[in-house]
């Protein structure tokens, strides 16, 4: 547990509902659920102060398993529903759970606008690169060539990179994790701490329809050669033997993964600057490597806070207006 997180009397199980979990045995969703519950206990907000809003998909069944308030809504619309919820009930901690289909296919537009408006939502996108609930069609994050029921000869659609999409949308907090990573709860705690929209992509294994897609990065043995967990201000080193790192390519000025040795030393590596949007852009999609952790974080006023501030200002300036006054505004005349 991160030292900055307040100790809390709440336990993981306080955030579990009484409903049986209906995911397939072995699904990556279980680990994420557990991570969220742990994070919530660490955050220390009581279950009744939390609402979890989702769309439709295997991942979106999430709210049923949480002992908090929850809304399992319709396909793709969770960010819009959550925005209304947050505006109406600003003290709630609002989480959005979505999938690569729910959040980036049908729901891409609401995602874009929740992010650019910077609504104070904690958005977790379960990316299994497949439509689970409808039995395995390719999704907008599926790699080209993937054979699925709807692409019997291989998909020809170029995939979207969720983190890049989020950056392009102007998101102020962009992070990435994977289902079984021990760092996951901490990532959620960070997302929660951020004022405004937090976008966390979690790579998630669908054992039934897309088993092993993320094996390269989360394989117990070799995974650490293909992933890096970045931390603000710390040097970007990775690899089973901490023998690899990220530096600025001296010619292009952009980030690249390198092996230490052959004249490249730790001093050549760069420190992760999480407030640097251009760096985050580079990090979000590297050739041989997947970056995890908080890729980008910048402070800005949350949309809902700005809305409330405006209401407060107008109240202050104009006072309350009664219904009678409202109806009598402007020209009126008396008929006797």
């Amino acid at each position: 547990m991160n030292a900055t997180i307040p100790a809390s009397a709440l336990k993981k199980k306080d955030f579990a509902s009484d409903q049986d979990i209906r995911w397939c045995p072995g699904c990556g969703d279980y680990a994420i659920l557990s991570g969220v519950q742990k994070a919530m206990a660490d955050i220390g907000a009581a279950p009744h102060q939390v609402a979890v809003v989702s769309g439709i998909g295997c991942s979106s069944r999430f709210p049923y398993y949480m002992g908090t308030y929850g809304f399992h809504s319709i396909h793709g619309r969770a960010p819009a529903i959550a925005t209304g919820l947050k505006l109406a009930n600003p003290d709630l901690h609002v989480w959005v759970i979505t999938g690569d289909g729910d959040g980036l296919s049908i729901g891409g537009n609401h995602m874009l606008h929740a992010l650019r408006r910077n609504v104070d939502l904690n958005i977790i996108l379960f990316n299994n690169k497949i439509y689970g609930l409808t039995k395995g069609q390719y999704s907008p994050t599926t790699e080209v060539g993937h054979v699925t029921p709807s692409s019997p000869y291989g998909s020809v659609d170029l995939p979207v990179i969720p983190a890049r999409f989020a950056l392009g949308a102007g998101a102020g907090f962009v992070a990435r994790g994977y289902d079984v990573a021990k760092e996951l709860p901490e990532l959620f705690v960070e997302a929660h701490a951020h004022q405004g929209a937090s976008f966390v992509e979690v790579l998630q294994n669908c054992v039934v329809f897309n088993d092993g897609t993320f094996d390269e990065v989360n394989n117990k043995k070799t995974g650490s050669d293909h992933r890096i967990w970045v931390k603000n201000g710390e040097p970007m080193i990775f690899g089973q033997n901490s023998d690899k790192g990220i530096r600025v390519n001296p010619t292009s000025g952009h980030l690249e993964a390198v092996e230490l040795g052959n004249g490249i030393t730790e001093a050549d590596l760069c420190l992760h600057e999480e407030t640097n949007v251009e760096r985050a852009w580079d990090l979000s999609h590297m050739k041989t490597l997947t970056a995890f952790g908080v890729l980008y974080r910048v402070e800005a006023v949350a949309y809902d806070a700005a809305v409330r501030q405006q209401v407060a200002d107008i109240h202050k300036k104009k006072g309350n207006l009664s219904m009678e006054e409202l109806l009598r505004q402007g020209h009126t005349w008396q008929v006797d």
Binding site: H48, P63, S73, L85, N89, R328
Partner: protein, 637 residues
């Protein structure tokens, strides 16, 4: 009747007294006709006339100057008697250019007054409007009382001292024309003068120039000998019920009604909407009321708009959304979610011409069946409709009441005509409204069940943030009571019936069906809904005066229908439904009561005219249509 007052030169003016006048202002989209018409209307309302207005403008912001499709019109009907419509045909047509004349002349009453800006009748403009000859020169207007004035030139002269650019100076010609008509119809120019001062507060030159133009038009009329047949008129105050009045249009009334409803329910409002003609001004009005517990959210589209409102309702606020046809189409799926999750939601649908984008700035009533049946699955909800601009206030309150008391989405139908037209409105006694405060469930009872239903099939509303009542809502079928996902066949049937019965039960809380005008039995009843109210009322009055046995029922609740309607309908030989669509309410009545209801379908983007219905009535009831009824022009001796 005549009356007198004083002319500018001290001579007394003899004014002919009229009981009602219809003026249509028409010109280019950029000519400011909407402004001119609404000022004339507002002033007439302030002067105590009864009033109805009808703006009719193209979908383009400023279509090319001089074209017929760029013509913008605004009709004002003001009277000393009770009127309900903007008038079938204008007594006075103001045509600011040849295109305006081309488009509108046919509707002017025979021998009507025609005010024309001769400066605009250039060869180029005549050609654009499709005239081969200048109608001012070929005697084709001889049948009218023509007041041809070089308005542009006189305006430019009048505003010259204020140093405007010639473009801006020319823009004042509408106000000059307004001044002329103010004198002609004895209107007080003061309110408009004040209004101009406020509007152009930040541009004092423009304000001064406009006020000068207004005065100049007024003075011109005062000092000019009017052509034959035109003389000053006067329309005395109407005898309206006592009380405090204001002028109101339907969207303002609906916006304020929502606020009123929320106060009665003791809830804050979250209005999520996406701009669309003719519903946008609902958003504009509510956005100004941030100091009245109103949050507005301009969403990225209509789906997000309705979803944000649903999210707000889930959160314990009153979620409201407003739109027009294409937007309602996009909200369809989410409305089903609100039904399934049993959450309150108010949807105001300001109908416009369809299908598809259709006629965005024209009025229509063609979303009725869509509102009632337009969702996947068995997904019933209450549908209400406002009958007049002012009635939008009351029906919006009703929509809020039903939504919150029955935990259901409600669709309130208005239309482009109601939205844009104004009428004098007696400010209601707010104390006469019974409050219906929402009490959220707060007690942590041992057997707490979020989807437990009372005798009316209504569940309790729980506000997230309440300790110990954490629950999950959703769109999958829920077990009656606990609300967990249930695929149980009997439960689904029970829940389907429960949802249907809940909506049907709304009928117990609304007024029983009643006759609006006429006897409770007879030869013919016109059954209307929505903005046809005025035309039907007037037509029925006229038919009754002619001795016909005709009555009027006006439905403000379309689903469920009010109790006792069938019995009432069976009291008439003919049941006829005039609608601005291709036949919708008649379908509902036929299916519901097996009564042979017939439709009168007008799908022209325009409201009914009184005479259309009068003629229909006469035909059905066998009397010969009276000759030349309704065609005696104002002041025509």
């Amino acid at each position: 009747m005549t009356a007198t007052n004083t002319k500018g030169d001290g001579q007394s003016v003899v004014r002919e007294e009229l009981s009602s006048v219809v003026i249509r202002f028409a010109g280019d989209s950029g000519d400011g006709m909407q402004l001119t018409g609404s000022q004339f209307g507002a002033t007439s309302a302030l002067m105590g006339n009864d009033l109805a207005t009808f703006p009719d403008y193209p979908a383009e912001i400023r279509a090319p100057a001089g074209t017929t499709y760029g013509v913008s019109g605004f009709q004002v009907h003001f009277a000393s008697k009770d009127i309900r419509t903007p008038g079938d045909a204008p007594d006075v047509l103001v045509a600011m250019n040849p295109a305006a004349l081309m488009v509108n002349l046919a509707q002017l009453k025979p021998h009507g007054v025609l005010v024309i800006n001769t400066d605009a009748f250039t060869p180029a403009n005549l050609k654009k409007a499709g005239y081969d000859h200048n109608p001012l020169e070929d005697h084709s207007l001889d049948a009218y009382r023509l007041l041809a004035v070089d308005i542009t030139k006189r305006t430019l002269e009048a505003v010259r001292p204020h140093g405007l650019s010639s473009k801006d100076a020319g823009r004042c010609k509408n106000v000059w024309t307004l001044g002329l008509l103010y004198w002609l119809f004895d209107r007080d120019p003061m309110p408009t003068t004040q209004w101009l001062e406020t509007k152009f507060r930040k541009m004092p030159d423009v304000a001064a120039a406009n006020i000068a133009a207004l005065r100049a038009g007024h003075i011109f009329a005062e000092n000019t000998a009017m052509p034959n047949g035109i003389h000053p008129y006067q329309v005395p105050k109407a005898e309206l019920p006592k009380g405090l009045y204001r002028s109101i249009d339907g969207n303002t009334a609906a916006a304020y009604g929502i606020v009123m409803g929320a106060r009665l329910a003791n809830l804050p409002i979250m209005y999520g909407s996406y701009p669309i003609t003719p519903a946008s001004s609902l958003l504009h009005h509510l956005a100004k009321l941030k100091h009245m517990d109103v949050t507005t959210f301009q969403a990225e589209d209509e789906i997000a708009a309705v979803c944000s409102a649903i999210g707000a309702s889930f959160g314990g606020a009153l979620g409201v959304t407003g739109t027009s046809g294409p937007g309602l189409a996009l909200k369809t799926e989410a409305v089903g979610l609100a039904i399934g999750a049993e959450l309150p939601l108010v949807i105001v649908n300001v109908q416009r011409g369809g299908p598809s984008t259709g006629l965005p700035t024209k009025t229509e009533q063609s979303d009725l069946l869509f509102a009632i049946y337009g969702r996947n699955g068995d997904a019933p909800l209450p549908v209400l409709a406002a009958a007049t601009p002012g009635d939008c206030f009351h029906m919006a309150v009703e929509a809020v009441r039903i939504a919150t008391q029955f935990m259901t989405p409600v669709i309130l139908l208005t239309d482009g005509f109601l939205a844009n037209s104004a009428e004098p409105w007696q400010i209601p006694d707010l104390d006469s409204y019974e409050p219906f405060p929402v009490t959220f469930q707060e007690e942590d009872t041992e057997d707490f069940q979020p989807f437990k239903h009372d005798a009316n099939g209504v569940r309790r509303w729980v506000k997230p943030g309440t300790p110990n009542l954490m629950y999950r809502a959703g769109g999958l079928e829920k077990a009656d009571g606990p609300g967990n996902i249930s695929y149980d066949p009997d439960n689904h049937q029970a829940m389907t019936k429960l949802r249907a019965n809940k909506v049907a039960g709304v009928a117990n809380t609304i007024p029983a069906a009643s006759i609006e005008q006429g006897d409770t039995t007879g030869d013919l009843v016109y059954v209307g809904w929505g903005s046809t109210h005025g035309a039907i009322t007037q037509a029925v009055a006229q038919l009754r005066e002619e001795g016909h046995s005709v009555s009027h029922i006006h439905l403000r609740y379309l689903n469920p229908l009010p109790r006792g309607l069938e019995k009432l309908l069976r009291g008439f030989k003919h049941v006829v439904v005039p609608e601005m669509n291709n036949g919708m309410l008649d379908k509902v009545l036929r299916s519901e009561f097996l009564i042979d209801a017939k439709g009168i379908d007008k799908v022209k983007g325009l409201p009914f005219q009184i005479r259309e219905l009068v003629e229909d009535g006469r035909q059905r009831l066998g009397a010969k249509p009276e000759k030349n009824s309704n065609v005696v022009a104002m002041g025509a001796e």
